[in-house]
């Protein structure tokens, strides 16, 4: 027992004296717990969406206002669909919603079979977020319809427009026109009765409220935005409320015009490459620490060359591996999964730039840690966090806004964006330039820091 306690005490002392180990035993798990807690327990998770209001009518404005008020969505009103599409392609928003010019007019003729279309252009790489956006739009469409049918002014106008549309419809026989007209008359009568009942109920509610206030009673007010309370028993019993709605959400994925809509692998290929870069970092990140552990670092320092050249040699090996890995992935993607690449020269440029960036990043990691164990464990932890916040593991949809902002600090998010830009986002060179510049900066900074760290270690 004495021996066991002595060894345990010694090992605990060693652990506490190695600050890196102590950090990864104590601080890092805490940070990870906070990280996941923020992801899965956060209250504000709005999905960035661009909205273009092409229709000048009140229904379109109401619909857009409803979207803006939805805390699930972070709406950015843009003036044109071109700008909105560009925002999706650049990854700034998960989807763009187009409320077309004919929205109000189509909606007014809803009783005559017309449907108002709302277009949604989704980012194929953000399917989860896009799915949520489409779901939200369906919800708002349903609410808009309920408002429309329960608002006397709107439903009267709608019936009138629908009757007019019937008269002007050349494809209908007089018999069909007569039957539909009868239906509309019945609906009009139903609306009138519903409106009368609603008005009576509102009056009774008001009287009750006045009496309640006189008696000190605090009855709640069920009116919404000055409208009468909404009763939706029919929609509650309907088997599929979206089947014949007058507003239709028409979603599509946004890809380069020159390519077919990307396959799943085209979307996951950039993520795959990001994980390939992670592998390269893992393979070379502990290189210098390994040299020190082996004692060969001394021989390298004694060779007639500078430390910078030793570092350059190591980073060249890393760069070559990154390129080889990318070429292999590309071959598999194009030959095995028929992924079509929108712009080959830009893809080559993106891969070379990413390889440079991650080689530099690897050298910084390599020089940062003194021993091999620290280099491996801490290096892997840092890379894992960067991949996670860069969108490599957890979809951005599930991240709180501050983490989405933080993802811009991750080289992986820029690498994925650049590669996606060349593969299927249809980036022009100028659109890819910011990503490339950031990656080049990361690479250069990595080499610089790596050199400084290793020089410092060599002198220690």
């Amino acid at each position: 027992m004495r021996v066991i306690l002595t060894i345990a005490a010694k090992d605990l002392r060693l652990l506490l004296r190695d600050r890196t180990n102590a950090f990864f035993v104590i601080v890092f798990p805490l940070a990870i717990a906070i990280f996941f807690g923020s992801i899965f327990g956060g209250s504000s998770r709005s999905i960035p969406v661009a909205v273009v209001i092409e229709s000048a009518g009140p229904a379109a404005t109401d619909f857009a206002n409803a979207l803006e008020k939805d805390s699930t969505l972070s709406v950015r009103i843009l003036p044109s669909r071109e700008e909105a599409d560009a925002s999706v392609r650049l990854g700034r928003v998960a989807a763009c919603v187009i409320i077309p010019k004919t929205f109000d007019a189509d909606l007014e003729k809803a009783m005559a079979g017309s449907r108002a279309i709302v277009e949604v252009h989704c980012d194929p790489a953000r399917q989860a977020e896009s799915g949520l956006v489409v779901g939200k739009l369906n919800e708002h469409a349903m609410r808009a319809i309920v408002r429309m049918f329960t608002n006397p002014k709107i439903n009267s106008k709608m019936l009138a427009q629908s009757k007019l549309a019937l008269v002007l419809n050349p494809n209908m026989t007089s018999q069909q026109r007569e039957r539909v007209s009868d239906v509309l008359e019945s609906v009009q009568e139903l609306f009138k009765q519903q409106n009368r009942e609603a008005a009576a109920a509102a009056a009774a509610e008001t009287s009750k409220k006045i009496a309640g206030s006189v008696n000190g009673d605090s009855a709640s007010n069920n009116t919404e935005n000055g409208n009468v309370p909404v009763s939706t028993p029919s929609s509650a019993t309907s088997p599929d409320p979206f089947l014949a709605l007058p507003i239709k959400i028409q979603s599509s994925t946004l890809a380069s015009e020159s390519t077919e809509p990307p396959s799943t692998f085209a979307v996951t290929f950039p993520q795959g490459l990001a994980w390939g870069f992670v592998g390269c970092i893992g393979a070379f990140g502990a290189g210098m620490a390994e040299e020190r552990r082996r004692g060969t670092f001394m021989r390298l320092l004694l060779a007639p060359c500078t430390i910078a050249s030793v570092l350059a040699g190591k980073s060249l090996a890393c760069f070559t591996t990154c390129i080889a890995m990318s070429v292999f992935m590309l071959l598999v993607a194009t030959l095995g999964f028929h992924v079509s690449v929108a712009n080959w020269p830009l893809l080559a440029l993106a891969i070379v730039t990413c390889s440079f960036a991650f080689s530099g990043f690897t050298m910084a990691l390599s020089g940062l840690f003194k021993n091999e164990g620290s280099a491996r464990s801490a290096g892997n932890a840092i890379v894992l966090v960067l991949v996670m916040i860069g969108g490599g593991t957890i979809p951005l949809a599930f991240m709180p806004p501050f983490l989405r902002t933080a993802s811009q600090m991750s080289p992986f998010s820029w690498a994925i964006l650049a590669i996606e830009g060349a593969v299927w986002r249809g980036f022009a060179f100028t659109e890819m330039l910011p990503s490339l510049c950031i990656l080049l900066f990361i690479g250069a900074l990595g080499f610089l820091l790596g050199n400084v760290f290793i020089q410092k270690r060599a002198r220690a």
Partner: protein, 279 residues
């Protein structure tokens, strides 16, 4: 060839090397002897420019300071830790360092070095499959393949089998005979006595004394001890002339056993520090 002048190195509160001065000449093996922690490896690191001394200087005569990497090309080092790549073959290891050094014909240099350490037959095997002694020999080959004028060998025989030890010691002697200046650190006194032309005894960062083995034994070694066993008991005689004492004992007869313990460097170390080398 190598001149260390009044070197001082502190690690925090610990003074690892304290005013160390020595000189190693061409064709000479200078043994730096001392227990573990005496400051030998720190001295080597300063001698090759990997550690900057807090005070004092290191000079390679005719070449300059080892802080310049082109000057360091003239040094071969076999560190105490095996500085080889276990995943590479013996030949690949030496070839890599030869290429790094910019040797004219690295393949020939690597083959020659491996032949001299007796690893030709295993040149294409991975170093990880070598025995401890073979790895030590490979570590040495990676130090001298470029025939440097100065060799720093830090405990080159640590943990090796007797056969490899003999091989290494013979090779070190050959290299010195070819003109290399060799600084050889060890805590094996018998090794130092066997191959070193001069030795310096080091303890607690200081060189206590330098000179040839004979000089040190004469000056700091105690008299030879002759132990004569007779049926009545054992007699111990300290003498400067053990041969005379043995002869007279044998002439007197009745001797059942004889033992002679000559003074060695261990005795010198004990005499100088008051403690045994392996304390």
């Amino acid at each position: 060839m190598l001149v260390l002048d009044d070197l001082v190195k502190n690690f925090g509160a610990l003074r690892a090397v304290d005013g160390l001065s020595l000189r190693v000449n061409r064709g000479e093996i200078f043994g730096l002897l001392g227990p573990n922690g005496a400051g030998k490896s720190t001295t080597i690191s300063m001698a090759i420019g990997l550690i900057t001394p807090d005070a004092g200087s290191v000079t390679y005569q005719g070449l300059g300071s080892p802080t310049h990497h082109m000057v360091r090309k003239n040094v071969g080092v076999a560190p105490q830790t095996l500085a080889i790549y276990q995943e590479l073959t013996g030949e690949e290891n030496v070839l890599f360092f030869a290429r790094l050094q910019g040797v004219d014909n690295p393949c020939v240099a690597a083959r020659d070095a491996l032949e001299r350490v007796g690893l030709t037959a295993r040149a294409h095997d991975r170093a990880a499959t070598y025995s401890g002694g073979m790895q030590r020999r490979l570590n040495l080959a990676a130090a001298f393949f470029h025939k440097p004028p100065l060799l720093l060998l830090d405990e080159p025989t640590a943990g090796v089998d007797p056969q490899s030890r003999t091989n290494i010691l013979e090779l070190v002697r050959e290299l010195a005979n070819e003109g290399a200046a060799i600084l050889y650190t060890t805590h094996y006194m018998e090794e130092a006595q066997k191959i070193c032309d001069r030795v310096g005894i080091m303890d607690e960062g200081k060189v206590l004394v330098t000179g040839s083995v004979e000089e040190l034994l004469a000056k700091h070694g105690k008299e030879t001890l002759v132990m004569i066993e007779r049926p009545g008991g054992e007699t111990r005689i300290s003498t400067n002339d053990p041969l005379r004492e043995v002869t007279s004992a044998l002439e007197a007869g009745d001797v059942t056993g004889l033992r002679v313990e000559r003074a060695d460097l261990e005795t010198v170390f004990l005499s100088l520090t008051g403690k045994r080398l392996r304390d």
